[in-house]
Amino acid sequence: MSETPTPVWDGPTRLFHWSLVVLVLVAWLSAGEQMTIHRGAGYALVGLLAFRLWWGLAGGSTARFAGFVRGPGAIRKYLQASREGAADEHAGHNPLGALSVLALLGLVGLQAGLGLFAIDEDGFEGGPLSDRIDFDLARQIAEWHELSFRALQGLVVLHLVAIAYYAVRKRQDLVRPMITGVRRFRAPVQGLVRAPLWRLVVGVLIALAAGFAASRGFRLG
């Protein structure tokens, strides 16, 4: 095990990941209590997701959806090879992990989307679009907002279990590369191909615009 460290995650992808962790935690802890903070975390998450969608199209090679989202056939093959200990090591998400990425991004998006319309039982604290719908529907959406958070918690637990499994059974540390950006491989692999800086600038602008628009309930008049 001596191999040169290979870059796997670019800075923006890592910053996205840990920002997501922090913002989801803030949203969780502030829910029902500090609703101004809760809403702020929600708007920031909308911006963060918008950034990730852009980065999935135009970011570094390992962040791009086209590079890691695979069909059921590829997932089956990966699982088979993995069971036989013959799965290729490569920089980036594996075909199964790709599903987890999509599910997490989708659920956080759903969570934030529902939050825009939700209202509390007192009809007092609500999302920026709750005034567009009646109390009953806004309450129903608030219940879904809670349910989808349970689902999100479940996915996060699964994510952590998978990380522990890789650490214990496969002796593979997935956390450190998400901090440092580099990983050591047994055999030389194609590492990360970084995106030019202007794309990061565009992504940050998209994120700011999306977060601001969400805070206004996408009403820009």
Binding site: G32, E121, D122, G123, F124, S130, D131, R139
Partner: protein, 155 residues
């Protein structure tokens, strides 16, 4: 084996039947009471939402806001009467009312009493056309909802 006369058997059956019927009536009553108070709280919630939605406008319809505040002000003093004994979690009917409503009846009554004056203040501000004042006061009304719910209502 104890032998029971026909008469005492009949009496026993009657007493048991009455007891069961009584329990059933109590359950029905608890359900009716709980449904009625939930409908009342929903009316308050709807009025609150209408006030909040209205106050978001640049030039809010203050008459409508005063009307909704009046609805809340009218219902507020009745709140503690919506919780007769036997309509808590022990009733077996699904309710978000906590047992503390009855074990800390004085505390509950005090928390519930906070709503009426706040709603009355909001109504007066709205009638006076004071938009900024109403926007500030609506937070006090919402705070009194939350203050009571935090202690006496299941999340």
């Amino acid at each position: 084996m104890i032998r029971l006369s026909r008469k005492s058997l009949t009496a026993l059956a009657l007493v048991t039947g009455l007891g069961l019927a009584g329990a059933a009536v109590a359950a029905v009553n608890a359900r009716a009471v709980i449904e009625a108070r939930e409908a009342n709280f929903k009316t308050i919630g709807k009025s609150m939402k209408a006030i909040n939605d209205g106050l978001r406008a640049d030039a809010p319809d203050m008459a409508a806001i005063a009307g909704n505040a009046a609805t809340i002000r009218g219902l507020a003093p009745k709140i503690s009467t919506w919780f007769p004994k036997g309509t808590g979690p022990e009733s077996g009917v699904k309710t978000e009312a906590r047992a503390e409503i009855w074990t800390d009846a004085a505390g509950f009554a005090a928390a519930a009493r906070r709503l009426e004056p706040e709603a009355a203040k909001l109504e007066a501000l709205a009638r006076a056309g004071d938009v900024a004042g109403a926007r500030a006061q609506v937070r006090m009304v919402g705070g009194s909802c939350k203050g009571c719910h935090d202690k006496f209502k299941v999340d």
